[in-house]
């Protein structure tokens, strides 16, 4: 077909199945390697095997390790209760959610953040001037301003690799297919099947598909996660909302405040020049 550019590609994304994650951090390493991101330093957090800590401007994949030795939602391995038979070790490779309604993209004043033909959200590093607005805007705490070069950074879903028909580096490196890459529609189907199977097997008390619901506060996520506990246990917000949803109401409130400013100044000025 004669189009002057490629027709839009299907929306791409991740389905991260945490039941398959073995905590090898190959995704973290592959991401750093491919995207040429600086190391985080050798700091030990004492928080299970997690010495990465968080997603930020130079860490775009982060494996969370949750030790639950009492079978509940406790993260504290030092509570003195050691019952390995009732314990479990949750691992989850976290990443940018590439939201349908992305707050970072909405608030970016320069247009540095944009929506790609793959439906992903990417920072143009040569445009970003490091205003930092996207940082508190993200409901997941993903994007961050980097100290090294002053601009914002986050997962691009390996935009450069996608353009060449390759899968993102993390998904390529994952040895257990805990990180699955593909068309979001396919991934949703696959994830639904997996959840149905796990529920039928009855092995886990809590199986939750995070980011699947298109009616959630961000209009559904391009990166979904199969979780075995509540999202907050993994450091994910239980009900994230794109703040821009209420922007109309915020401007309305500001409008009343503007009217109050003008009204008050008029009234107070009426005292004349005495």
């Amino acid at each position: 077909m004669d189009t002057y550019q490629d027709p839009a590609a299907a929306r791409k994304g991740f389905f991260t199945d945490t039941t398959l994650c073995i905590g090898c951090k190959a995704c973290e390493v592959a991401c750093k390697e491919w995207n040429q991101l600086p190391a985080d330093g050798y700091e030990y957090t004492g928080q299970s095997y997690d010495n990465t800590g968080e997603l930020n401007g130079t860490t775009w994949r982060h494996v969370a390790f949750v030790e639950q030795l009492r079978g509940g939602a406790s993260n504290d391995p030092h509570d003195g209760v050691l019952r390995p038979e009732s314990g479990r070790w949750l691992m989850e490779s976290d990443v940018c959610k590439h939201c349908t309604h992305a707050a970072c993209l909405d608030v970016c004043p320069t247009g540095a953040l944009f929506r790609t033909e793959f439906g992903t959200v990417v920072v143009q590093e040569d445009v970003c001037n490091g205003c930092g607005y996207c940082v508190p805007a993200c409901p997941f705490g993903v994007i961050d301003k980097r100290d090294t070069d002053g601009h914002a950074g986050k997962c691009t879903l390996c935009y450069d690799r996608l353009k060449d028909g390759e899968k993102p580096a993390c998904a390529k490196a994952c040895p257990t297919e805990s990180i699955q890459f593909g068309d979001v529609d396919d991934l949703r189907r696959r994830a639904d099947e997996r959840v149905a199977k796990l529920k039928a097997d009855g092995m886990y008390q809590h199986v939750e598909l995070y980011g699947r619901d298109e009616n959630d506060g961000v209009g559904g996520m391009g990166a979904m996660f199969l979780l075995l506990d509540k999202p907050e246990v993994y450091g994910l917000p239980p009900d994230p909302v794109d703040a821009t949803r209420e922007l109309g109401a915020m401007w309305r409130a500001a409008g009343y405040a503007m009217a109050a400013l003008v009204g008050a100044t008029l009234l107070l000025s009426a005292g004349g020049r005495a």
Binding site: K145, P237, A253
Partner: protein
Amino acid sequence: MSASYYGRPVVKPHVWKPYIPLYFWIGGTAGAAAVSMALERAKGNDELATVQRNVALAGALTAPVLLILDLGVPLRFYAMLRVFKPSSPMSIGSWVLTAFGGAIAGATVSDVLGAKPLARALEVVAAALGPVLATYTAVLIADTATPVWREARGELPFVFVASSLAGAGACGTLFAPAASARPARRMMTAGAFALAATTRLMEKRLGRFMAEPYRKGPAASLKGGADFLSIAGGVLMRAGGKKTVVARVAAVCVIAAGVLERFAVLSAGKVSAGDPKYTVEPQRKRADERASADAVRN
């Protein structure tokens, strides 16, 4: 106590340096000063009108410097005017600040060159943009995932307007001859009391749990200082404001109160984003309520 991942933040605290709360005050004060300028001009109180225009001009010249200093890549400041993006309060603010600065500077230059009608017209333009300049910063911070800002989205614009009104009034009181500064002194007094009242209202609406970041930790002392100085300034003005010295001391108190309040808001925002409970607890409640509503329906 809600579950969390090693107590780590869920959302990222803002990364703005102290230039930003300072700009919030300066920009707001400049905006309110422009409104006052236009009204005084219309009334024929040219003395106060010109002082307020100079206040607005000083603000409009300082503001871009502060904003550029805060950027991660300052040399790319021009990227702010690369697009006009209604979904970004910062984009709207950048354009408004640029237009405001142009109008105020243009009005000043026109007056110097003797082009009075142009000067008056540009003053009207600046006065129309002033209220936006005084409030857009409230929308800007409310439009984030920072709990104490987002949950106060209805009240923050009023807090910022009160501080701007007080700031412009205080500057007018400081710099205009007492004979023509009466409207400015009234603005200052009203603004000071309004600042104390609106912050109180904001905390009340946030509720005991969500207002915590304003009541303990680093924001509490900033806010305490702002409360004390705004009320002290207002009371001082009511009691002995007829004396120029007293009025000037009150003006300094009120300016300090406004600046401290902006720092308190930014500091409370940082605290509320830094502790996951402020993000998780309200969201968990929402999610549970929705789940039980779904369970009832099915």
